[in-house]
């Protein structure tokens, strides 16, 4: 019984890690641009498609495909960031909603037009099960947890010590002051956006081997799972996002086991409503930042 619960918690940590890597990009983009990126799941999808393409058409090994998936997404993110996201800085909030929703439709349907709407089979990664603490787990899932920890340590260091991290924090606090002291706000916005998109793509490629199928509409559900995470974590809060993602992942896993699989998606949306009602600024901040 106890080991069963422990196994479910580990399952939750794995899915939480996936949410965390996607959500942290979305929350950083919000911090800088003040816009929820509704197209965020599409970068997850693009990364996966990039890797799938590399494996299927060029027979490349999985690690190379991973790099290609992320780079392909970065290239698309540069274009989208340059022409759309940079213009959102300082624009009214509805601009961001419409622009990113539009981008989501364009990206998703372009992929469907090019590759067809059917499910593709992702043939790569490390799917052999390994035995840990008395239960089995695909190697890939262990990799996901490790990468998630590395990503968050890296981001924490970057945001605290690097010049770009400091600029990002500054822009998220006050755009006008940044402009006055000579921070290139559009440049910071663009870089944050590319970083966020790449993280989403990384998460996509990492999960593809265990999720097996790749298809054009796969990003949508990720966007909607990510929303409750970033709101729970406090918009723009990197550390909060990590814990919120883990909480959601574990809660989903326990609900799927002890209540029923059909109620799994309810968890995220129910939490979203509760958090918005009682702690709209997130679980981990004392007061609202925005």
């Amino acid at each position: 019984m106890l080991s069963a619960i422990f196994e479910q918690i580990v399952n939750g940590i794995v899915s939480g890690s996936v949410y965390a890597i996607v959500a942290v990009g979305m929350t950083m983009i919000f911090g800088v641009l003040r816009a929820i990126n509704f197209a965020h799941g599409e970068y997850y999808m693009l990364g996966t498609f990039g890797a799938w393409f590399a494996i299927e058409y060029f027979d490349l090994p999985y690690p190379v495909a991973l790099v290609i998936g992320v780079i392909a997404t970065a290239v698309i993110a540069v274009v989208v960031g340059r022409f759309v996201m940079q213009r959102i800085v300082g624009a009214p909030p509805e601009t961001g909603v419409l622009a990113t929703l539009g981008i989501a439709l364009v990206l998703q349907n372009t992929v469907i037009l090019v590759f067809g709407g059917g499910y593709k089979f992702f043939n790569g990664g490390y799917i052999e099960p390994v035995s840990i603490f008395g239960f089995t787990l695909a190697e890939q899932r262990v990799l996901i947890i490790i990468v998630c920890i590395l990503v968050f340590v890296g981001l924490e260091l970057m945001v605290t010590y690097s010049r770009m991290g400091k600029a990002m924090r500054a822009v998220s606090q006050n755009i006008e002051c940044c402009a006055v002291v000579g921070i290139d706000v559009p440049q910071v916005a663009l870089r944050t956006f590319i970083l966020g998109a790449c993280l989403a793509a990384l998460s996509g490629v990492l999960t593809a081997p265990v999720n097996v199928s790749v298809y054009g509409g796969m990003g949508e559900i990720i966007t909607f799972k990510t929303l409750p995470v970033i709101i729970m974590g406090g918009l723009g809060n990197v550390r909060g996002t990590f814990f919120a993602a883990m909480i959601l992942g574990i809660a989903e896993s326990l609900v799927a086991t002890y209540v029923g699989l059909q109620f799994r998606d309810t968890v995220g949306f129910a939490t979203l409503m509760l958090v918005l009602m009682w702690r709209p600024h997130g679980l981990f901040s004392a007061q609202a930042r925005f």
């Binding site: 239960f135 089995t136 799994r264």
Partner: protein
């Protein structure tokens, strides 16, 4: 200024493209062809079904047209995308009826969508010939049951549930089951009918879960099933999800211990390849499969492979066969008049690859289910079973 001009040019260009597309649509309707609409999920999680369905139907139309058409008229197919959801299915059906002026509709694959399409076709007086939905309710409510314009050329889940559970209980000796099915009218109804027959075989359901279309994480529920002591998993699911579940069955240590029984394309080559260990011993009742040993069926597989370089699935076959069935009904009616074709259909005796097709008073075709088991990575056919459906007395 410059960007305003660009936008205008862009709008005009898009408008022209739209006009071009519209005029090709109009052309197809003018040549006196029999207009047939195919409603199927062409995008979304079930799009694989849709693409097979449309290709099957197109192959049949091509064969008929090359042989001179029906009564000298060619068959023109228009595709409607239901995205596998009732809302989109209904609007696709309306578009086909109102804009494309089709006389006949074959659709949809998903039971939920077909159930929603029935009243639309009924109101318009357009013949809805279903070829691939298995929820029993569709024909419970057709013919003498209500909808006069709905016909179904596909066996139902009532038949399927009985065949599967009987085999699992009598031949494999299973009594303890877990349910893991898709959360739709198809998945839920199949389980409902399974439960209706379970007590007769002293079977019990230990756990019951339904997954949403697009679900990818089954570890939690599979671990629960592993610990529950179930002997088999009753699964009425989606073909595209089967490889995901099968792979995760290997991961949590279920593979080779608890087989899948039901229907979710366990017999497809690529699915078996994805997780051979998990699918070994799986039991499935299918309306058709490529290995079915009948000359007409084997000839179809060859033709389909030659044209699309892919082995057809069940949906390709049923749509191919149903287009031929419709053509036969139009021939028997002597015209493409909807009411005459409908009457011809209810009296038809059609030689399909699965045996002779006739319709009962609920417009339900009498068709067998093929029972198969995956043995050494290949589907082995265990027989074909049919049952006359006993409709509830009103």
């Amino acid at each position: 200024m410059m960007s305003a001009l660009d936008r205008r040019a862009f709008c005009i260009a898009m408008g022209l493209i739209g006009l071009g597309a519209a005029s090709t649509d109009a052309r197809a309707a003018e040549d006196g062809a029999v207009r047939l609409g195919i409603v199927a999920p062409m995008s979304g999680p079930n799009s694989r079904y849709g693409s097979f369905s449309l290709r099957g139907a197109q192959l049949a139309a091509e064969e008929i047209n090359n042989a001179g058409g029906v009564g000298g008229r060619k068959i023109a197919i228009t595709s409607g995308d239901s995205q596998g959801t009732p809302v989109e299915g209904v609007s696709a059906t309306r578009r086909l009826i109102d804009l494309d002026k089709v006389d006949f509709i074959i659709g949809d694959v998903s039971s939920s969508v077909t159930l929603a399409m029935q009243p639309v076709a009924e109101d318009a007086g357009v013949l809805l010939l279903n070829a691939a939905s298995s929820n029993p309710k569709i024909t419970y409510g057709a013919g003498v049951g209500g909808f006069k314009w709905t016909f179904r050329n596909y066996p139902t889940d009532e038949n399927r549930a009985l065949v599967v559970i009987q085999y699992a209980a009598e031949k494999r000796g299973f009594t303890k089951f877990s349910v893991l099915s898709v959360d739709t009218d198809y998945g839920r109804a199949a389980v409902e009918f399974t439960k209706k027959y379970l007590p007769g075989f002293k079977g019990e359901v230990l756990t019951e879960d339904y997954y949403k279309e697009g679900e990818v994480d089954f570890r939690s529920v599979l671990a629960k099933i592993r610990d529950s002591g179930a002997q088999a998993i009753i699964m009425y699911g989606l073909a595209d999800t089967t490889p995901i579940i099968a792979r995760q069955m290997i991961e949590v240590g279920l593979a080779g211990k608890i087989p899948l029984i039901g229907n979710a394309e366990f017999n497809t080559e690529s699915t078996i390849k994805a997780a051979p260990k998990a699918l070994e011993g799986a039991v499935e009742a299918a309306a058709w499969l490529p290995a079915w040993d009948a000359p007409k069926s084997l000839a179809f597989v060859e033709k389909f492979k030659a044209k699309y370089r892919e082995t057809p699935n069940n949906h390709a076959y049923v749509h191919w066969e149903t287009v031929h069935l419709l053509a036969k009904a139009i021939e028997a009616a002597g015209s493409a008049d909807r009411a005459k074709v409908r009457d011809a259909l209810s009296r038809i005796k059609y030689d399909s690859a699965m045996g002779e097709v006739t319709f009962d008073d609920h417009n339900q075709a009498r068709l067998p289910m093929i029972l198969l088991q995956i043995e050494n990575g290949k589907p082995a056919i265990k027989g074909a079973y049919s049952a006359e459906i006993k409709y509830p007395a009103k």
